[in-house]
Amino acid sequence: MANETPGLDQRDVAFDAKFFRYGFLAMMVFFIAVPFVNQAAGRDLIYLVFLMKVLCFGLFACAFNLLLGYGGLLSFGHAMFLGMAGYFSAHLAKVGLQFDQVTLFKVSIPLSVHLPPFSTELAILVSTAATGVLGLLVGLLAIRRQGIYFAMITLALAQMIFFYCLQAPFTGGEDGIQSVPRGKLLGMIDLTNNTAMYYFVLAVFTFGFLLIYRTVHSPFGQVLKAIKENEPRAISLGYQTERYKLLAFVLSATLAGLAGATKAIVFQLASLTDVHWSMSGEVVLMTLLGGMGTIFGPVAGSFVIMAMENYLSNLGAWVTITQGIVFVICVLAFRRGIVGELEALLRRRLTFRQFLFEVFAFRHHKRARDKKRG
């Protein structure tokens, strides 16, 4: 009963709230300030294009983390939502909806639709919604399976989507959809201006981020956590757990779609890279590196991975190897990820030296193990 003394085993709601408040504040100040700092410095200390990438992938990873970190569901096909949303929004913004017939399983139904190119915000909204529907269909198929089977089904479906995108005429095959117009936001703000585009992306990111925070800290989120912790027990209390998992899946897919749709507009490109399985792997990497099940972790993970890709790009293939090494170090030493370890450090009010000792002596691993046995 030694471990029942008040301390780390106690729920510390005040700490959690404080951590979020200051963390969010710091994050927003940083992202809002960068363009001003760049201007003051007279040169780009941090490229806005780089930050937009961080924000898009950050939102993607946050959406993924909602499913993995809070729902306990490891999807290995999340690229399909990012990528498909990208194709949707690129196509809608560039071409609109133009077809004379719908072909489903070799049956053609004449249906004439001719809509001109969509405005930027509408293209993003419609593609996000469409990705939500895709998420619902995939979720219905996958959610009944657990663990590795769930991962395999999502992977298999993502591969199907990939090959569809490779073949389908509207995705442009190997070329993708290029020179997508950024357009004007609400017909007023010209998004070809990088600063305007940046703040728009920041707004989209912040919306998605806060929605995820709210979801995690909602009555629904509480049930989701319970299901993740002990699904049979949740069922025995009368929760229809599959419905909760399905909703989490759809939310995650939709927000991944929001990230993908926005990204295609920012980079004026939708391509096979975003539907490829390696993208599904990269989002796992970002989430684990930053801290699975922490609210800021995926953003930090996205930042680090993107920084490595951008600033180490002259290393060529070595980027992948560096990422691999970082990943291994992270899994071995910083099991909770960057933000997870930081949070633990602050929670315990350790000094930095104690912290390093803890981490490298692997003491928390032992403690976690003992706790499990408990």
Binding site: M1, N3, E4, D9, Q10, R11, L211, R214, T215, H217, S218, P219, F220, G221, Q222, V223, K225, A226, E229, N230, P232, R233, A234, I235, S236, L237, G238, Y239, Q240, T241, R243, Y244, L247, L251, K371, G374
Partner: protein
């Protein structure tokens, strides 16, 4: 409906007929006819591997039966989903402890209250502060089982005996008509066993309890009826005084232990 029949179905709250479960040819539960009377504490005992947990899994639909039917309050629940059985008011516990380890003790109870009060909770846009409205009720339940001081502790950090107590508290929060408890005192020290036994007796008021129990002092102390299971079949049934004198039971089960229990 004839009143006499009505009376009869009211008496028996849970009934199985020919309940059978086969695992790839191995018969774990073999034609079990179980009748649990409303308002009683009914014990299911038997040596390890007799099929007690499997019976629980069948009753709560965590496993589909191979043959046979299950009736709860006269209604056929054989085809129900596990969550539906729970919604009818049959709440089970598990042989291995079933808490939500990273939720606080208070939150563990609240998750149950949340289900009980709201039915479903898909409101992902609402603040969890709404759940604070249930804190008083949750604390009252924790008070009742003696866990109030641990309300903010992570459930996973509780000592074993307290974890099992928390399970009972969570089950209690559902205000179930019927509780199924799988070895609630297994692996506990003497003091904890006595505490949990008294607790079960106390919370059983106004409910029906079906429990798997190895500890004979608990069984003889609080159970009204005992069903002895052996290799999947019912060996004997009746009050403790009767069953404990049954030569077959002594031979099969009690003869092998000192009768005072302990985890078998």
């Amino acid at each position: 409906m004839r009143p006499a029949f009505q009376k009869l179905t009211e008496e028996i709250i849970l009934e199985t007929r020919g309940l059978t479960k086969e695992f790839k040819g191995f018969v774990a539960v073999d034609h079990v006819d179980l009748r649990v009377k409303r308002g009683t504490i009914h014990a299911l005992i038997g040596p390890n591997g007799a099929g007690k947990t499997t019976v629980f899994n069948l009753l709560t639909k965590f496993l589909p039966p191979s043959r046979g039917t299950i009736h709860f309050k006269g209604e056929d629940i054989t085809r129900d989903q596990p969550a539906d059985v729970a919604r009818r008011g049959v709440i089970r516990s598990f042989q291995i402890s079933a808490v939500f380890p990273n939720l606080s003790v208070l939150e563990n109870v609240r998750v149950a209250l949340q289900r009980k009060r709201a039915g479903s909770n898909f409101a992902f846009w609402q603040s969890e502060k709404k759940l604070d409205a249930m804190n008083d009720a949750a604390l009252a339940i924790l008070d009742r089982v003696g866990l109030r001081d641990f309300a903010q502790t992570h459930a996973g950090a509780l000592a074993y005996g307290r974890k099992r107590t928390l399970e009972i508290a969570t089950t209690l929060a559902m205000d179930p008509e019927m509780m199924l408890l799988d070895e609630p005192t297994a692996g506990m020290g003497h003091e904890d066993v006595d505490r949990v036994r008294d607790l079960i007796q106390e919370v059983a008021k106004g409910r029906t309890v079906l429990m798997v129990e190895h500890n004979m002092s608990v069984v003889s102390g609080i159970c009204d009826t005992i069903t002895v299971l052996q290799r999947g079949s019912v060996l004997a049934e009746g009050p403790y005084a009767e069953v404990s004198k049954n030569p077959q039971v002594i031979e099969a089960y009690m003869g092998s232990s000192d009768g005072a229990g302990g985890p078998a």
